[in-house]
Symmetry: C2
Subunit: 413 residues, 2 copies
DNA sequence: CTGCCTTTTGTGAATTTTCACAAATCGCTG
DNA sequence: CAGCGATTTGTGAAAATTCACAAAAGGCAG
């Protein structure tokens, strides 16, 4: 089936449902048109469909969550968002989704919505793609009009969120009033999370997650900043809630790493607060986590929350104090000099040993050396820098100073 | 032998040597008069003496070091400094010191010098004490006159030292010039040491140490502040020099503890510097050590030097920073609450375990519990506060926060 | 090259730590 | 008081650590 250029021009000012019917007639198949949020906008009146997903979508006026999740997971949306052309989707029977073709309705780089065509009555071939392309083009102004208001509101919400992130508001009651007027639901407890990846279209990969929970979020360069609500006031169960946040982040990051070329993606989140004027705190804490993770990539691999930072919570501060004081750990200096002179690796040995919490077997494995070699080196270290590694104070001090030495100098700043 | 009151008045304006002769005549024994620094001022011309100490004193114009040290060690000077009456000293043949009697020449509480009477020709009885008392009284103006200038100089030296301690001078060349004009020998390398004891006459017990090495020192309340020179520029041997300083302090403290009722005496010293404008640093460091030792008495028992402080170097600053941030370690809070609710001692257990550098046998011994009990408690702690004690970061963090929690709140300040 | 020193690796025994399991104690609740 | 859960202590075996000693390898100076 083919169509002459400009065929759809007649529907320019018609009802969008008529457009759906027109496409359906041409393709001889059921059609649905959705906005970017997968809300149903129009659907063709093509008789009874056997497709479960279609029925659910029409009944619920939105594509079911289960279907969306699956399509994101399978990368269908990633294709839709990046390609101009229609995407042919094989059937996914386990979620009641028959074979179909979809195309994004786009204006510039923005995706305004989607046209879905089921292959129920007859197959849709590559030649039919042109029909969908033209239909997508003619649908644009309707969606623009439709989304215009929604987008402006969204914009005002994001601005409000930025104000909160930057700590512009200190009055709780003011924040509550403004949130209400913007129809933003502020949770009783929350935390701020920042996800960072080199991928520029970061938010696209996370759309389903962002939309599903109606979260407050903004982009800032390569960072996605979002407010995660924790619907529970019992402080006791916070541990459980945090585990859910961790799970969410792990999922998101896994998704990002799969789709980014270099696979670099990190996330950090701040502490849980309930006063909204503390949003700025949670945000800064999240940023602090990211900063630490850049500096101590290996050491902080499994850290995402500010409350897990441990010594890294104050290491930056400690570094600037030490620099200002002109402090240098003479022991580490001595050890570094010894390494230099004798081509040994005592400094690395010491750090690995301390990182391994004093477990010699673990440390030896990390260093790829015999356990006796490690013990010999440790005794050597104790001799050279006159330290007693069984003294927790001395040990802690060395551990911290080793980490401090890895940080960039702050005096130049 | 006795003497009428006012007998010595005739020597009021005579040469002090004549006074010595007069006493000698009355007691029929050799006499020496010394100033507070044990420099010889006068001696009776009573024939040849068999006493080795006397001969050495006269020949060297000062009491030999060996004799002084021994007399301090045996507590003779302590008696002389505290008692108004003459002190009868048994012979100490190993240092060539025959039997003798001595009395302090004092004006108010200040001791200006000493009169020594050997028992060579005939015994000196209790009845002769009055002679010595009167002689001591009449010797005062001569010694006052003699010491006036020296004392003024000493005063000016102390003032100079205070200026250095407070960092009033920043120009090295100025400091050097002023030191020279005051005849103060500044060592190439030095450190500042502060000794503190409840005993108010602290410096008296340490006189021999102070005088022997001609150190710069001042008293500040219960604190004795002194500058210790380290005559070596090779940075390599600093460890050895420091060990000597430690030895010196151990000796001094032992001496103090022996003589003070409650036995409280501590010392702290700063880092080694060579620029004299850094005296203020070394002094502040020494004070910092003392402050830390007050707060963490048990933990810092064997710490005296600033360089040994380890984590305590920055704990005070970290505390005030954490307080300002409103930081509280939720884990420790949880554990404390658990202890409260269940009458357990998990917090103490955790601290002891961490203090013991993770050695379970050591920690169990400290806590007087079975080793399995300790292991059980540790597993329990890991469960309750969701911590992995094999993770050095988490461990260190808990260790530091435990110490921080022991410090007084800084927000009230 | 030899001799000397430092470092690495190997071996084996003594000691310590870890772990699983069981018994006893204790406080609390129905 | 019986029963329950938390805690303490005991026992024994497996695993890890510590220690002493020895052999081998490597660099370096004479």
């Amino acid at each position: 089936m083919s169509v002459q250029p400009g065929y759809f021009d007649q529907f320019q000012h018609a009802d969008i449902d008529e457009l759906a019917d027109a496409i359906g007639d041409l393709l001889q198949n059921p059609i649905t048109i959705e906005d970017a949020d997968h809300k149903l906008i129009a659907y063709s009146s093509h008789g009874e469909s056997t497709d479960l997903a279609r029925r659910s979508t029409i009944m619920g006026r939105r594509v079911p969550e289960k279907v969306l999740t699956r399509l994101w997971k399978d990368g269908v949306f990633q294709q839709l968002l990046t390609k101009e052309d229609p995407v042919h989707i094989p059937p996914k029977e386990d979620i009641g989704l028959g074979r179909r073709v979809a195309i994004a309705i786009r204006k510039g780089t923005d995706v305004l919505g989607y046209i879905w065509a089921q292959e129920e009555n007859q197959p849709i071939t590559e030649k039919d793609d042109e029909i969908l392309r033209q239909a997508a083009r003619v649908a644009v102004p309707r969606l623009v009009q439709r989304q215009g208001k929604r987008k402006a509101e969204e914009q005002r919400r994001k601005e409000f969120f930025w104000e909160l992130l930057l700590g512009n508001h200190t009055s709780e009651s003011f924040i509550k009033r403004k949130a209400e007027s913007l129809q933003v639901e502020l949770p009783a407890q929350y935390l701020i999370c920042v996800i960072e990846a080199e991928e520029t279209r970061l938010e696209q990969y996370l759309y389903p997650l962002l939309l599903r929970d109606k979260l407050l979020w903004v982009m800032d360069g390569a960072q996605l900043i979002l407010l995660i609500g924790l619907n529970s006031q019992g402080g006791r169960e916070n541990a459980l809630l945090l585990r859910k946040v961790e799970q969410f982040l792990d999922d998101s990051l896994e998704k990002l790493v799969d789709h980014t070329p270099h696979g670099k993606a990190t996330a950090g989140y701040g502490k849980i607060y309930s006063e909204y004027s503390d949003i700025v705190r949670s945000y800064r804490e999240a940023l602090h986590v990211l900063e630490v993770k850049r500096l101590f990539f290996e050491e902080t691999r499994q850290i995402k929350g500010y409350h897990q930072l441990g010594i890294y919570r104050f290491l930056r501060q400690l570094k600037s104090w030490s620099d200002a004081e002109g402090y240098v750990n003479e022991q580490l200096k001595t050890l570094a000099a010894y390494d230099q002179d004798n081509q040994t690796h005592l400094l690395e040995t010491l750090e690995t040993y301390l990182d391994s919490a004093g477990k010699v077997n673990v440390a030896a494995q990390h260093l790829h050396i015999h356990i006796n070699t490690l013990n010999y080196r440790l005794r050597r270290i104790e001799e050279i820098i006159q330290v007693d590694l069984d003294d927790q104070n001395q040990r802690t001090s060395l551990y911290l100073d080793l980490k401090l030495n890895k940080m960039p100098d702050t005096t130049g700043k």
